[in-house]
Symmetry: C2
Subunit: 109 residues, 2 copies
DNA sequence: TATATAAGCAACCACATGGTTTCGCAAAAT
DNA sequence: ATTTTGCGAAACCATGTGGTTGCTTATATA
């Protein structure tokens, strides 16, 4: 067993996914984020630490407040990983298209 | 705490991601899969159980062998979740395009 | 200056996770 | 008929995870 702190582990937790969605459009402070959940601010802080560690989120201090911002580019890593499968499902679809075309063709004859 | 057995939790583990990639193109038996890793066949079996539970994988018995097949369509759920962010990063890119266009424009003048 | 507020950190806890070994069972091979 | 093989299930173990409470520090505000 080893310490994993990658983006896939980060998005595994539903609360973390909700936080990501929440701050996707505007930066937010831990307190503001915590208001949306039934967990303590400290728990939110721990989630934000994990998100920060895998660079999904960036801090921005403003006085005693810390605004957290989603690093949307990091999300593309998931998209990139999906690419290998996207190729497959597109192929399968085109095969289905061919199959359907053949059936159509046979009916005509 | 509650039991999570969703696709995001399934792909959180690196070994599980490797298994998914491995069987993406051809069905494989647990033994054949286990040969690719430094873990026991039983450990692979546990991973396959998790993948089966969230319907990422389907079994296909053939005598005493069981072939595991990736349900590629299930992978689209991740793609679907990414959609909300895809919109954002495409907007940011078009904003960047506008910015670059403006700079170009100013140079001309 | 004293106090309230925002946030991180540390210690703690119950339960989840990923691995192992051992076992049992059914199918194939001898 | 006996042995080998392929597999899953169960019990067990160390470590990870997600939450809590309590504390400290820094900035605002009375």
């Amino acid at each position: 067993m080893y310490i994993r702190r990658d983006i896939f582990q980060a998005i595994a937790d539903p609360t973390r996914r909700a936080i990501i969605t929440l701050i996707a459009f505007q930066t937010m402070t831990p307190n503001a984020i915590a208001e949306h959940f039934d967990i303590t601010r400290q728990a939110v802080s721990k989630h934000l630490r994990i998100l920060t560690e895998c660079e999904l989120v960036k801090q921005q201090s403003e006085g005693r407040e810390i605004y957290y911002q989603l690093q949307i580019n990091k999300m593309k890593e998931i998209d990139k990983w999906l690419d290998q499968f996207r190729k497959i499902w597109e192929t399968r679809y085109s095969q289905l298209d061919t199959l359907l075309a053949n059936i159509k063709d046979k009916k005509k004859k």
